[in-house]
C-alpha cells in the first residue's frame, strides 16, 4: 500500500551563482495516514526544507511528493496556496500568532479561508483554552500561545499537521504538554502529525522516526509501540 505521504528522490538545490548548494539531496520516505512522525536531525541537515516542501511553502527542484495521492511537487502559485489552506495545518516554533487578534480571532483567521472548518470555540476548548478565548496573545503564556497556534492549525481540519520545533521556545513541562496535545490529537482524531525537531529524545513517542543528515534520510525507524510523552524524559 502506497503511503499517505510519499517522497521520492526529492532534491532542493540552491544555485548561488556558480556554486550549487544541495539543501536536500534526494530524500525518500513514506508515511502512513494517522501516523505521528518525528523528523530529527542536526541543524542544517535539511529537515526544515523537507518540511517546507511538504507544507507547500517551498517547491522541490527534483523528485516527487505525493500527499494523499496528489503530486504536489508540480504545484505552483495558487494551487500550492490552495493546498496549504485546505490540506495543511502548521505549527511554528514561535507560535506566529497575530498579536492584534484574540485567541479566538487568531483561530478564526485561519477558518475564514477554509473550506470545511471546525468551530473555533470547540477547538480552543479541546486544546484547553476554553476560558481564555478572548485574550490577546500578549496576555497568554508561551504554552497557551502554542495551544492557540495548534488550535488554529487544527481548526482548518487539515490532512497533515506540520509542526516546526513546536517546543523550541517552551520550557520543559510546557513542551511536554504540547507534545502530549499533539500526540493526543493524532491518536484521537487520526490526524497525520509530522513534528520536526533536533531533539532526538522525543523520538520514542513517534510511530515513525526519520533521521536526516546532510540532506538525506540517514535512518528511518518504525516504533511498533510508541511511548507516551509522559514517560519520556530529556
Amino acid at each position: 500500500m502506497a503511503g499517505f505521504v510519499v517522497l521520492k528522490g526529492v532534491k532542493k538545490i540552491y544555485k548561488m551563482g556558480e556554486v550549487t548548494i544541495p539543501a536536500v539531496d534526494g530524500v525518500d520516505f513514506e508515511i502512513q495516514k494517522g501516523e505521528f512522525v518525528v523528523i530529527v536531525g542536526p541543524s542544517g541537515a535539511g529537515k526544515t526544507t523537507v518540511l517546507n516542501i511538504l507544507g507547500g511553502m517551498d517547491t522541490c527542484t527534483e523528485g516527487m511528493v505525493l500527499v494523499d495521492k496528489e503530486d504536489i511537487s508540480s504545484y505552483r502559485g495558487k494551487r500550492l496556496t490552495a493546498y496549504r489552506r485546505d490540506e495543511i495545518g502548521f505549527v511554528f516554533q514561535f507560535y506566529n500568532l497575530v498579536q492584534n487578534l484574540t485567541a479566538l480571532e487568531n483561530v478564526e483567521l485561519a477558518l475564514q479561508i477554509c473550506r470545511d472548518p471546525l468551530d473555533a470555540g470547540d477547538v480552543l476548548r479541546e486544546v484547553g483554552l476554553g476560558g481564555r478565548m478572548d485574550n490577546f496573545p500578549a496576555q497568554l503564556s508561551g504554552g497557551e500561545q502554542q495551544r492557540v497556534a495548534i488550535a488554529r492549525a487544527l481548526a482548518k481540519n487539515p490532512k497533515l499537521l506540520l509542526c516546526d520545533e513546536p517546543t523550541g521556545a517552551l520550557d520543559y513541562n510546557t513542551g511536554k504538554a504540547i507534545l502530549k496535545l499533539l500526540q493526543d490529537t493524532c491518536r484521537e482524531k487520526g490526524m497525520t502529525v509530522i513534528v520536526i525537531t533536533h531533539n532526538s529524545a522525543i523520538a520514542p513517542m513517534a510511530d515513525r522516526v526519520i533521521q536526516i543528515k546532510n540532506g538525506r534520510v540517514s535512518k528511518m525507524t518504525q516504533n511498533e509501540c510508541p511511548e507516551s510523552v509522559e514517560n519520556i524524559e530529556w
Binding site: T48, A82, R84, Q93, V98, I113, F136
Partner: protein
C-alpha cells in the same frame, strides 16, 4: 565611521535599502523643491522684472511740473549729483481714429535714452507722420501695421497746439516698460480708459514745454528694483532733485507770466487789428457812398452839359443856315459889282486916252518953253544971279555993324575981320561983273515977262492935265479898288464857303460827339446803378462781418480778460518728483510678487512637515530593524557615536542629495510655472530668470537635512542607551489592545472578521495612521487646490457671464450721437429679429473712494431698473439675497466693497474727476467677479449728478448666434455712425477661458506634486508597515492566504486610511485654496470662492488612484515575502 568594516556596511546598507534611501531622497527633494521654489518665485519675479527694467533702462524718477517742465529744468536736473541721464518727454492723451476703430491713446514722444520700447513688429518711427503703436492695440484688433491714424483732442484745445501732424502711419508695434500689464490706466479722454500708447517723434509735438522729465539715477541700475536698498537710494536722489524745485519753479513761473503777457498783448493786438479792419471796412464803405454821390453829381452835370451842348448845337445849326444865306447874297452882290467894275474900267480907259493926248500937247509946249527959257537964260540968268549975290553980301556986311545981340536975333553970323575983308572983295568982284550988263536991262525985262507969261500958261495947262489925270487916277484907283475888293470879296466868300463847310463838318462832329456823350451818359448811369448795387452788397457784407466778428471779438476780449485774470491768479508751479512707486504697473507687479511671497511663506510648509515626519518614521524603523546589529556592535565594543554615525550619515546623505535635487528642480521649474501664470497679466515681461537663491537654498536644505538627521539621531538615541543584552533580546511584540469600537458591541458585531482585524491594526499603529492621513490629506489638498484654482478662475467666466451678466451683447453709442440718431438706432434694434430684448443704459468710468482708498470702476445706470435683472443679475453672494436698484443709494460689487472696506449703509465717494465728485450710500453689495461696478437707478443718478443720465449703450438679449453670425451683426451695426462698438459677452467669456490655458500648467504641477507626495508617503509607510509585519504576513501565507487575500488584508487598512486622508484633505484643501485664492487674486478680479463638486470628485479619484498604484506596487512586495520568514525567530 573610521572603521573600514562599518564603512563598507554603510554602503551595503544603502545598496540594499535603496528604495528606502530613494524615498527619503525624494521626499526631501519634494519638500525642498516646493519650499525653495515657491519662495524663490517672489525674488525671481522681481529679478525678471528688474532685468527687463535694466534692459529697457526704465527711469528711476520722473519730474512733473504743474506748468510743465522746460529745457532749463532738464539742464538744472542733469547737473544734480547722482543723476545719470535726463530725458524730457511729451505725453498727451488723445483720441485716435482709423475710420474703423476709435481709441483713447496716450501719445508720447518716442523715448530714446530710457523707457526704451522693445519693438515687436515693424520698426520705430523715423520721420514725422510715423508712429509706433502699443502692441496691445494690435493684439486687441484695433490697429494694424500700415493703418493711418487720425488724432484729435477731446477738449477744446486745438490739435495744432499739441501736434504738428494729425495723421500718422503705424510703422511698428512694441511694448514699453512703463506698462507691464494689459491695463493702461485711466484717462480723461474718450470712455475713460486708455486703450494704449502711441509713440511719435519728439519733433511732432508743438508744445513749447515738456510734460515730464525722466531721470535715471547713477548706480541704481546695478541695484534690484523693489528692494529697500533701491528705494532708499532713489529716495535720496529724489530729495536732491526736490531742492531744485523752488528755484526752477520761480523761473518757470516768471517765464509763463512773460509768455502769457506776450500772448495777451498779441491777442489784444489781434483784437485791435480786427476792430481796425472793421473800422476800415466801414470807412471804405462810407467812401464808396461818397464816391457814389459824387458820381451821381457828375452824371447830373454831364446831363446838363449835354443838354447845353444840344442847345448850342442847335444854335450853331441855325447860324450855319444863316451863314449860307449870307454867302449866297455875297455871291450875288459880287457878281453885280463885277459887272459895274467892267463898265468903269472901260470909261477910265477912255479917259486915259484923252489924258495922254493932252499930255503929249503939254509936252510939246513945255519943250518950246524950255527952249525959250534956255535962250533967256543965256543972258538974263547970269545977271540975276549977280544982283542977288550983291544984295546978300551987302546985307551981311551991313549987318556987321550991329551988336552981337542984334546979329543973333537976325541970324547973321559975327564975322571976323578976315571974313569981312573976303566978303568985301567978293562984293567988289560982283559989282564989276554987273557993270557989263548995265545997258541990256530993258530987253531982258521984256523977254522975261514974255517968258513968264508962257510959263504961267503952261503951268496952267499942266495943272489942268494934272487934275484930269488925278481924277482919272482916282477913278482908276476906285475901279482898281473895286476890282481888288471884288477879289477880296470873292476870296472872302470862298473862305466863308470853306468856313461854312468846316462849320458844317464840325457841327456834324459835334452832333456825333453829343450822341456819344448821350450814350456815355446812359452807360455811366448803368454803371452808377451797378455801383449802387455793389455798395449795397458791400453794406450787407459789412453788416455780416460785423455780426460775425463782433461776437468773436467779444469772445476774444473776454478770453483776454480771462487770460489776464488767470495769469494774475496763476500760482507758482509745483514739481512732482515721483519715483517708480508712482508707476501703476510697477507697483502692482511688486504687490503680486509679494503675494506669491506670502503663499511661499506657508504653503510649502505642508511638504516640509510631511517630509520631516516621513523621514522620522523611516529612520526610526530602520534603527528598529537593525536593533540586533546595534546590540552586536555594542557588544563588540563599538562606541555609540560610531554606531549612530551610520544612521546619521544615511539620513544626511539622502537628505543632502534630495535637497540638492529639490533646490535645482524647485528653483528652476516652479518660478517659471508661477511667473508664466502671472504673465497672463504681465504680458510684457520677456523672460523669467530663475537663479538659485543662496538664502533659500541654504535655509531649506539646512532645515531638510537637519530634520532628517535629527530624526535619525532621535531614533538611535533610545537604542544606544540600552545595554547590548537588551538589544539582542527580541523586543516584545506590542500587545494587542481592544479598541474603542469594541465597546460598541452593536457596531463591532456587525463588522466582519477582517474589518475587526483592520480596525485593530489601524489603532495599533497610530503613528502610521496619522502620517498616512496627513500624507494623503496633503495630496488631496494639493489636488483640490489645483482644480480649485481652475474652478475659481473659471467661475469668472461661468458665473460672471453665465449668471450675473446675462445679457448677450452691448452696443456702445457714440457720445456725440443725437437723440434722433439714437431713437433710429434703437428702433432698428427693436425690429431686428435676432434681438429679443434690449434696454438703454448709461455706462462710464469713475473712481470710487472710501476711507482714503480709491479704485477705478464703472458706473452703470439702467433706463428701466426693474428690468435690470434680465441683463444683470444682482444678488448678494453670501446672503443669497436678491438686490434691486429701488430706493436710495447704489449697489456696488463685492470685490470693490472688500477693497474699500465698506458695508451696506456706508458712504462712498464717486469721482469722475477732481471737480466732479458726489457722495452716496451703499445700499447693496452684489456678487461680481470681474472689474468693479457701481449700479445706480436713473432717479438716484439724477439726484447725485443733477441731471438725468444720457444713455450711451444698449444691453440686449439675443437668440443664440454662431461666431460668424455675431461678427456679421457687429459689422452691420458698426456701419452706421451711431454705434461705436458692439461687444459680445460670449467673446468676453472666451477671453477668460483663454486665460485659463496657461493656468493648466499650475494645475499639472500641483497634480504631479500631489501624486509624488502621495506616492512617496504611501509607499514609505506601506514599506514600513510591511517590513514591520513581515512575520505576520508570512504566517498568513503559510496559513494558506492567497496573495490577493494577503494584500487585501494589508490594503484594507490603506484604503481606510486613504478615505480618512481624503476626508481630511478636503478640509485642508479648502483652507489652502481659500488662502491661495485670496492671496493671489488681483484687484480687478474676484476669483470664485468655491470649489466645484467635479473637482472634489477628480481629486478623490486621483488620490485613490495614487493610493491604488502604491497598493499595486505593494502587492508585488507582499508576494515576494518569503514564508520562511515565519520560521525565523522574532528579531
Amino acid at each position: 565611521m573610521g572603521k573600514k568594516a562599518l564603512r563598507k556596511e554603510f554602503y551595503m546598507e544603502i545598496r540594499k535599502t535603496r528604495n528606502r534611501f530613494l524615498s527619503l531622497l525624494v521626499i526631501t527633494a519634494l519638500g525642498v523643491a516646493f519650499f525653495s521654489g515657491v519662495r524663490a518665485s517672489n525674488p525671481d519675479m522681481v529679478l525678471s522684472a528688474d532685468a527687463f527694467y535694466d534692459e529697457t533702462n526704465l527711469m528711476d524718477i520722473r519730474v512733473l511740473g504743474t506748468l510743465g517742465v522746460t529745457d532749463e529744468d532738464v539742464e538744472a536736473i542733469s547737473r544734480v549729483e547722482g543723476v545719470a541721464d535726463v530725458m524730457p518727454v511729451q505725453s498727451v492723451d488723445m483720441l485716435g481714429d482709423t475710420g474703423e476703430h476709435q481709441m483713447a491713446l496716450q501719445v508720447m514722444s518716442m523715448p530714446e535714452l530710457m523707457n526704451r520700447i522693445s519693438v515687436r513688429e515693424g520698426r520705430a518711427p523715423q520721420k514725422a507722420g510715423e508712429c509706433l503703436a502699443d502692441a496691445r492695440l494690435l493684439d486687441s484688433g484695433l490697429l494694424e501695421i500700415g493703418d493711418i491714424l487720425t488724432l484729435r483732442t477731446d477738449s477744446e484745445e486745438d490739435v495744432e497746439d499739441v501736434l504738428h501732424e494729425t495723421e500718422y502711419v503705424v510703422v511698428g508695434a512694441g511694448v514699453s516698460p512703463l506698462f507691464l500689464s494689459r491695463d493702461r490706466g485711466t484717462t480723461k479722454v474718450g470712455t475713460g480708459s486708455l486703450d494704449g500708447f502711441l509713440m511719435v517723434p519728439m519733433e511732432s509735438f508743438a508744445m513749447d514745454y515738456y510734460t515730464q522729465i525722466c531721470i535715471t539715477a547713477q548706480g541704481a541700475r546695478e541695484m534690484t528694483s523693489y528692494t529697500e536698498a533701491y528705494d532708499e537710494f532713489v529716495d535720496a536722489l529724489v530729495e536732491r532733485i526736490e531742492t531744485l524745485e523752488e528755484g526752477q519753479c520761480k523761473l518757470r513761473y516768471a517765464q509763463v507770466q512773460e509768455e502769457g503777457y506776450e500772448k495777451i498783448a498779441e491777442g489784444e493786438a489781434e483784437v485791435a487789428d480786427g476792430e481796425q479792419k472793421l473800422l476800415d471796412a466801414k470807412l471804405l464803405l462810407e467812401e464808396g457812398q461818397q464816391e457814389l454821390k459824387d458820381a451821381e453829381e457828375k452824371l447830373k452835370d454831364a446831363q446838363e452839359e449835354l443838354a447845353d451842348g444840344e442847345a448850342t448845337l442847335k444854335e450853331k445849326e441855325q447860324g450855319l443856315l444863316d451863314a449860307r444865306a449870307e454867302i449866297d447874297d455875297g455871291w450875288k452882290e459880287l457878281t453885280e459889282a463885277k459887272e459895274k467894275l467892267v463898265l468903269g474900267t472901260i470909261k477910265i480907259e477912255k479917259g486915259y486916252a484923252a489924258y495922254n493926248e493932252g499930255l503929249a500937247e503939254f509936252k510939246e509946249s513945255q519943250t518950246q518953253l524950255a527952249a525959250a527959257r534956255a535962250e533967256y537964260e543965256k543972258t538974263g540968268g547970269t545977271y540975276d544971279r549977280l544982283k542977288k549975290a550983291e544984295a546978300e553980301l551987302t546985307y551981311i556986311l551991313e549987318a556987321q555993324k550991329y551988336t552981337d545981340d542984334e546979329l543973333a536975333a537976325l541970324g547973321i553970323p559975327r564975322l571976323t575981320l578976315d571974313e569981312i575983308q573976303a566978303r568985301e572983295q567978293e562984293l567988289a568982284y560982283v559989282k564989276t561983273q554987273l557993270a557989263q550988263f548995265s545997258g541990256m536991262e530993258a530987253e531982258l525985262a521984256a523977254a522975261r515977262a514974255e517968258l513968264e507969261k508962257n510959263e504961267a500958261l503952261l503951268a496952267e495947262g499942266e495943272q489942268k492935265l494934272q487934275e484930269g489925270k488925278a481924277l482919272l487916277d482916282k477913278y482908276n484907283a476906285e475901279i482898281e479898288r473895286g476890282g481888288s475888293a471884288a477879289i477880296y470879296a470873292e476870296r472872302d466868300l470862298m473862305e466863308a464857303e470853306e468856313e461854312w463847310k468846316d462849320g458844317r463838318q464840325k457841327l456834324s462832329e459835334a452832333r456825333e460827339e453829343l450822341e456819344d456823350g448821350k450814350r456815355k451818359l446812359s452807360e455811366a448811369q448803368e454803371e452808377l446803378r451797378d455801383a449802387k448795387e455793389e455798395l449795397k452788397d458791400g453794406q450787407r457784407e459789412y453788416e455780416e462781418a460785423v455780426a460775425e466778428n463782433e461776437p468773436k471779438l467779444k469772445d476774444a476780449r473776454e478770453k483776454i480778460a480771462d487770460a489776464k485774470q488767470e495769469l494774475q491768479d496763476l500760482e507758482e508751479p509745483e514739481w512732482y518728483v515721483l519715483d517708480r512707486q508712482y508707476l501703476q504697473t510697477y507697483v502692482e507687479y511688486g504687490q503680486d510678487a509679494e503675494r506669491i511671497g506670502a503663499i511661499g511663506q506657508w504653503f510649502p510648509a505642508i511638504f516640509f512637515l510631511v517630509a520631516a515626519l516621513v523621514c522620522l518614521t523611516t529612520m526610526t524603523r530602520m534603527v528598529e530593524e537593525e536593533r540586533t546589529q546595534i546590540g552586536t556592535l555594542k557588544a563588540l565594543g563599538y562606541s555609540a557615536s560610531s554606531i549612530a554615525a551610520k544612521y546619521i550619515f544615511y539620513a544626511l546623505l539622502s537628505s543632502l542629495l534630495g535637497s540638492l535635487l529639490g533646490l535645482l528642480a524647485g528653483q528652476r521649474l516652479l518660478p517659471v510655472v508661477i511667473v508664466n501664470a502671472y504673465r497672463i497679466l504681465y504680458v510684457n515681461i520677456p523672460a523669467v530668470l530663475t537663479p538659485l537663491h543662496f538664502t533659500y537654498s541654504v535655509t531649506s536644505a539646512a532645515v531638510a537635512v537637519l530634520c532628517t538627521t535629527l530624526a535619525a539621531v532621535a531614533a538611535c538615541y533610545k537604542e544606544l542607551l540600552s545595554v547590548p543584552a537588551a538589544l539582542m533580546r527580541p523586543v516584545a511584540p506590542r500587545a494587542g489592545k481592544r479598541v474603542f469600537l469594541e465597546r460598541l458591541p452593536f457596531l463591532w458585531r456587525r463588522l466582519n472578521f477582517s474589518y475587526k482585524a483592520t480596525v485593530r491594526n489601524l489603532m495599533r499603529y497610530k503613528k502610521r495612521f496619522f502620517m498616512t492621513v496627513f500624507g494623503i490629506g496633503g495630496c488631496m489638498a494639493l489636488l483640490l487646490v489645483g482644480f480649485g484654482i481652475k474652478d475659481s478662475i473659471l467661475y469668472i467666466g461661468v458665473v460672471q457671464f453665465g449668471e450675473i451678466r446675462t445679457y448677450d451683447a452691448s452696443f456702445s453709442v457714440e457720445e456725440e450721437a443725437g437723440e434722433e440718431e439714437k431713437d433710429a438706432f434703437y428702433k432698428a434694434l427693436s425690429q431686428d429679429e435676432r434681438i429679443l430684448a434690449s434696454m438703454w443704459v448709461r455706462e462710464g468710468s469713475l473712481d470710487v473712494e472710501a476711507g482714503g482708498v480709491t479704485r477705478s470702476g464703472y458706473i452703470l445706470a439702467p433706463s428701466r431698473p426693474e428690468e435690470l435683472g434680465d441683463y444683470i443679475h444682482l444678488k448678494n453672494r453670501i446672503s443669497r439675497e436678491e438686490l434691486s436698484l429701488s430706493g436710495e443709494g447704489v449697489v456696488i460689487t463685492e470685490k470693490l466693497a472688500k477693497l474699500l472696506d465698506v458695508q451696506e449703509g456706508d458712504r462712498i465717494l464717486l469721482k469722475e474727476d477732481e471737480t466732479r465728485q458726489v457722495e452716496t450710500v451703499v445700499s447693496g453689495i452684489a456678487e461680481n467677479y470681474f472689474l468693479h461696478y457701481v449700479y445706480v437707478s436713473p432717479e438716484v443718478y439724477e439726484t447725485l449728478y443733477g441731471e438725468a443720465p444720457v444713455w450711451n449703450a444698449v444691453y440686449t438679449d439675443m437668440v443664440p448666434l454662431e461666431e460668424q453670425q455675431e461678427e456679421a451683426l457687429r459689422m452691420e451695426y458698426l456701419e452706421g455712425d451711431t454705434v461705436s462698438e458692439v461687444t459680445f459677452v460670449s467673446g468676453m467669456a472666451q477671453r477668460v477661458a483663454d486665460m485659463l490655458g496657461s493656468m493648466d500648467t499650475i494645475i499639472y504641477v500641483l497634480v504631479i506634486a500631489a501624486g509624488l507626495l502621495a506616492f512617496v508617503v504611501l509607499y514609505n509607510l506601506n514599506n514600513i508597515n510591511v517590513s514591520e509585519r513581515r512575520r505576520e504576513l508570512a504566517t498568513l501565507k503559510v496559513l494558506g492566504f492567497f496573495d490577493g487575500e494577503v494584500s487585501a488584508y494589508v490594503n484594507r487598512e490603506n484604503v481606510i486610511l486613504t478615505f480618512l486622508g481624503a476626508f481630511a484633505g478636503v478640509f485642508l484643501g479648502r483652507l489652502l485654496h481659500r488662502f491661495i485664492i485670496v492671496t493671489a487674486e488681483i484687484d480687478i478680479l474676484m476669483f470664485g470662492r468655491d470649489i466645484a463638486l467635479k473637482s472634489y470628485v477628480y481629486s478623490v479619484f486621483l488620490t485613490f488612484l495614487f493610493s491604488a498604484v502604491v497598493n499595486g506596487v505593494m502587492f508585488f512586495r507582499l508576494k515576494k515575502i518569503d514564508m520562511v520568514e515565519s520560521m525565523k525567530s522574532v528579531e
